[in-house]
Amino acid sequence: MTTVRVGVVSFPGSLDDQDAARAVSLAGAEPVRLWHADADLRSVDAVILPGGFSYGDYLRCGAIAKFAPVMGALVDAANDGMPVLGICNGFQILCESGLLPGALTRNDHLHFICRDQPLIIENASTPWTQSFEIGETIVVPLKNGEGGYVADESTLDMLEAEGRIIARYVGANPNGSRRNIAGITNARGNVVGLMPHPEHAVEDLTGPSTDGLGFFMSALKALTRDGLTSVSPAN
């Protein structure tokens, strides 16, 4: 069987690239480290934009990362259907790049938040969520200062109508996200942005659960099933 190769991009200030690469390994795929300054995806089958503080979060979170050389290649690949997962700062970069609608803003209570967060999965057909069941509740860490998802009402209605909200926060809203949104996908269903951190919930020793593994197992399953050629739309 062909090995599935999942790229993990490191920007200056990326924090969770090592954990994301480890999660990819634990899921059974091969992590491939990608460098922000190289416009080269090294023939990977999928890409993860990890959490952290790319370029120090200067200007706005993700605003400078979107102009990194690797992003030109990534945007083209994403538009061709490659599975892309942006976690936390990666989600912010995907929104800044226009691959996902909306934006992430300062938490409404102004505090950085760090806790184990229950989520409900609402779309189990993307290449990053198909190991889950719709309605399944999982627990993964959430840690952000600017995690409030905002978009105009018509965009929020469209995301709801098209089943593009992949996960919502369960219980009290941790950051002011509109409609309790924790993660969304693009129209095609191959690009997913998620504010919580599944890569920190892949081993009993260090995480609150191993629920996070499902995101990485999903990509392996999707890419193996599709013969590494294409990914079906979510809808």
């Binding site: 605003a63 102009f67 929104c95 800044e96 609608p101 909306g102 803003t105 300062r106 938490n107 002011g176």
Partner: protein, 84 residues
Amino acid sequence: MPTAPRVIVEVMLKPEILDPQGRAIIGALGRLGITDVVDVRQGKRFEITLDGALADASLDDLHRVAAELLSNPVIEDYELRIEA
């Protein structure tokens, strides 16, 4: 020799976007004994100094910089003006 022109770009959150920093500032005003302020919005100001005269082409470039880098049109508006 004329001084190099300076371009000011001000970026504000759109009115419909919650500004939690502005709200925190209102909270602090009470501690200064100021009670008649009903709203504070916090924004960003960029001062851009050019090398030489401002050509029309570079003004277009600056609008592009303001729209694509200095602000996020999903949540922010910008204003650009030239200071002599």
